[in-house]
């Protein structure tokens, strides 16, 4: 069996490998190469060295977007995970109609970000109009709008992963804790949560990467306004690429930096939380 597996391994892995090469490795390598080029379209690139990286910091846009993104991600990651976990705890109790609730909470995740952005834009503007304002009055409205929107969209998804994690916690261990006299809160923090570290690793990874990469919701909800104060990294890259003449390479350079930042943070998080995972 082992031998046959080895023999046919290349045959079975090849289609995936080819697809991976074409759809992932080649565009990625090209993208990195293009960040050192000046170009209009990807086929007429001219090598210019690190000039694009210098230009990326020639104004404050990128740094401002980075700070805004970090502020956004910091709050969004915590709220999404806390609320998602609480919902999961609630919906693993014996509640009437809990399957219905699970479905309802999951559903926002099935709607596209652009659509959600426009829906929330009119809802938030509708509320603010009662105070004679719009969301673009001040960056803080856009900021909290984005956090509410992101929470609304992601909580259900994160909840489903936590529910799966909760259901995997072995009842033997929980029973043992009960016999040892641990109360509910203690059981939660000392038994359930440590046992759920694999789910937490996944959920943190998903929320971190999604918060940093957020684009459509940002574009639709505030469009970066007022005066670009709510522009996040992905939107800033998009605007650099398409809204400035001859800045395609700079946009590309920003995208490479963006990749390094997100990958770096996600890696650190993976190592840290993996470390905490325990075997039952």
């Amino acid at each position: 069996m082992e031998k046959t597996m080895k023999k046919y391994f290349p045959l079975f892995v090849l289609p995936t490998l080819v697809a991976f090469l074409i759809a992932f490795v080649v565009p990625f390598v090209m993208g990195v190469y293009l960040s050192f080029c000046e170009f209009t379209t990807v086929t007429n690139a001219r090598f210019v060295g690190t000039a694009n990286y210098i230009k990326a910091f020639s104004n404050q846009d990128f740094l401002r977007a980075l700070i805004f993104t970090v502020l956004f991600a910091g709050v969004a990651i915590v709220t999404i995970n806390v609320f998602g976990f609480l919902l999961a705890l609630m919906l693993t109790q014996k509640l009437p109609g809990r399957n219905l609730f699970r479905t309802v909470f999951f559903m926002p995740n099935l709607i596209g970000g652009i659509v959600l952005g426009y829906i929330w834009q009119s809802m938030i503007n509708g509320v603010l109009s009662g105070f004679g304002m719009t969301m673009l009055m001040d960056a803080k409205y856009g900021y909290w709008g984005l956090i509410i929107l992101m929470n609304w969209q992601m909580i259900g998804y994160i909840m489903v992963i936590y529910i799966a994690g909760l259901q995997n916690v072995s009842t033997d261990v929980l029973e043992a804790a009960k016999i040892d006299g641990a109360n509910k809160l203690r059981t939660l923090f000392r038994v359930t949560i440590p046992m759920m570290m694999p789910s937490i690793t996944i959920c943190l990874f998903l929320t971190i990467s999604n918060s940093f990469k957020m684009f459509d919701q940002n574009l639709a909800l505030t469009g970066g306004g007022p005066s670009g104060k709510t522009t996040m990294l992905a939107l800033d890259i998009y605007k650099t690429f398409y809204d400035k003449v001859g800045f395609e390479g700079v946009g590309q350079a920003k995208a490479v930096l963006f990749f390094l930042i997100v990958a770096g943070i996600a890696m650190v998080q993976l190592v840290l939380t993996r470390h905490k995972e325990v075997e039952s």
């Binding site: 023999k7 046919y8 290349p10 045959l11 090849l14 289609p15 080819v18 074409i22 209009t40 379209t41 990807v42 086929t43 007429n44 230009k55 104004n59 834009q121 009119s122 503007n125 109009s129 004679g132 304002m133 719009t134 969301m135 673009l136 009055m137 001040d138 505030t222 469009g223 970066g224 306004g225 007022p226 005066s227 670009g228 605007k239 398409y242 809204d243 400035k244 003449v245 001859g246 800045f247 395609e248």
Partner: protein, 444 residues
């Protein structure tokens, strides 16, 4: 070992043949006649272009493919389409700045029949080498669109400042009329004189581009140039004049403008909730389409945008174009020829001309069009009437505005000014600084 090699080879063959299957079908019809692939800029006339493509194929046998980019995404769609092996052969740019971005793909058009037929050769976009790289296919104009029915209602009120629309020929009169109308809005049955000054991001082009064209043109004129690396925004007071008038005599509270788009403004106008709106002749379709539209074609007309500039009594509309045909220089010769023939057919054959004028509503600047072949829509008619009345049109120089980034910053500043979070000096310095910064980047 042998089997393993065989397996690898077999799977490679499989993979390659599967991949090859994707791309080959389209490229086979490279016959001698060539074919046309047009990237259309205007989603509102997408269906008309599809129809033209069909008719042209029936008449001449040349295949025409039309792809329409979604609103606001023309550049990004073109960027991805043009690298394909089946790339657009005919596309459009928006002026000198657009030419800077696309010059590697613009073919010299000086020998084409449609350039020869251009009524004013100065309108075309010329490169540094003297070649012709973009040919305009329509002329457009914008100003303040008014609803004569409401205006007449006002002229009939007691104490009206003027008695007819013709008497409004400078900013002072316009301001007096507008403010008087606003105070009588209940009597006139409107919610405000002007439609909402749409300041939602990417809906502010009527201000940061169209309205700003006038003071910047005045500055160019004062300096005797056609472009500037730095502007003082010397006529900012005039811009503020009219912009304040728009804000303060509107259907909408200035603080609420961050939630308004162009469609909202046009709907307000179409429903008779306001008397005036700043927009161009392309807006007629949009007004007529609104359900419950109460504006009649014979009651609609243009007023030049007065902002207190010197000699504005004789000022006309802002007339120009942002639509230039370009032929892809990297397409095959047969395709380039087919594209040029297609454009010439559009402006010279009876069928093509009918589509150009009546279905696309273009005011085509070509000698092949006779006096009778002018568009029938009321705004285009009003525009031509003003042009022919001897008033001096203001050319579109916003094609020299440095970049979208500049415009976005300007629009953002206007929004902040409208809602009171930035003072006017802040707006002026945003314009000066962004203009300088973005122009400097262009020349690197």
């Amino acid at each position: 070992m042998k089997k393993r090699l065989l397996g690898t080879l077999l799977s490679m063959v499989l993979a390659i043949s599967a991949l090859a299957g994707c791309g080959s079908a389209e490229n086979q019809e490279d016959s001698d006649t060539g074919s046309v692939y047009y990237m259309n800029f205007k989603p509102e006339v997408a269906e008309v272009w599809e129809e033209i493509a069909e008719v042209y194929e029936q008449e001449t046998g040349v295949k025409v493919k039309v792809v329409t980019a979604a609103g606001g995404n023309y550049e990004s769609t073109l960027k991805s389409e043009i690298v394909k092996s089946d790339a657009p052969t005919l596309f459009q740019i928006n002026g000198p700045i657009g030419y800077q971005a696309w010059k590697d793909y613009c073919a010299d058009l000086s020998d084409t029949q449609f350039y020869q037929a251009l009524s004013d050769k100065e309108l075309a976009i010329k490169g540094e080498d003297g070649g012709v790289y973009g040919v305009p296919y329509t002329m457009e104009g914008y100003g303040i669109i008014y609803n004569l029915e409401i205006m007449n209602r006002y002229f009939a009120t007691t104490g009206a400042v003027v008695g007819s629309i013709e008497e409004i020929n400078n900013f002072a009169t316009l301001k007096a009329v507008v403010e008087d109308m606003q105070s009588k809005k209940e009597e006139l049955g409107i919610r405000g004189v002007f439609a909402a000054t749409s300041l939602l991001p990417s809906e502010e082009w009527r201000w940061h581009t169209h309205l700003a064209n006038l003071p910047v043109y005045a500055e160019y004129q004062a300096n005797g140039v056609t472009d500037m690396q730095e502007i003082n925004f010397a006529f900012q007071k005039n811009f503020k004049n009219i912009f304040d008038l728009y804000l303060q005599n509107s259907t909408t509270e200035p603080k609420m403008l961050g939630s308004k788009g162009v469609n909202d403004s046009m709907a307000e106008f179409a429903l008779g909730q306001c008397a005036m709106v700043q927009n161009g002749n392309w807006a007629w379709g949009q007004i007529a389409e609104v359900s419950g539209n109460v504006v009649k074609a014979e009651n609609i007309g243009f007023l030049p945008i007065y902002m207190g500039l010197e000699g504005e009594e004789n000022q006309g509309l802002s007339v120009g174009t942002e639509n230039y045909f370009c032929i892809n220089s990297q397409a095959s010769e047969a395709d380039r020829k087919a594209s040029a023939d297609f454009v010439y057919w559009l402006i010279s054959s009876p069928t093509g001309k009918d589509y150009m004028v009546n279905k696309l509503g273009n005011v085509a600047p070509f000698t092949t069009f006779t006096e009778e072949e002018k568009p029938a829509d009321p705004l285009a008619k009003s525009m031509l009437k003003i042009m022919e009345s001897g008033k001096v049109s203001i050319p579109w120089i916003f094609t020299t505005f440095p970049s979208q980034t500049f415009k976005d910053a300007f629009g953002g500043a206007l929004l902040e000014y409208a809602q009171g979070t930035m003072d006017w000096n802040g707006v002026v310095s945003v314009v000066q600084e962004q203009w300088k910064a973005e122009k400097a980047l262009l020349n690197q």
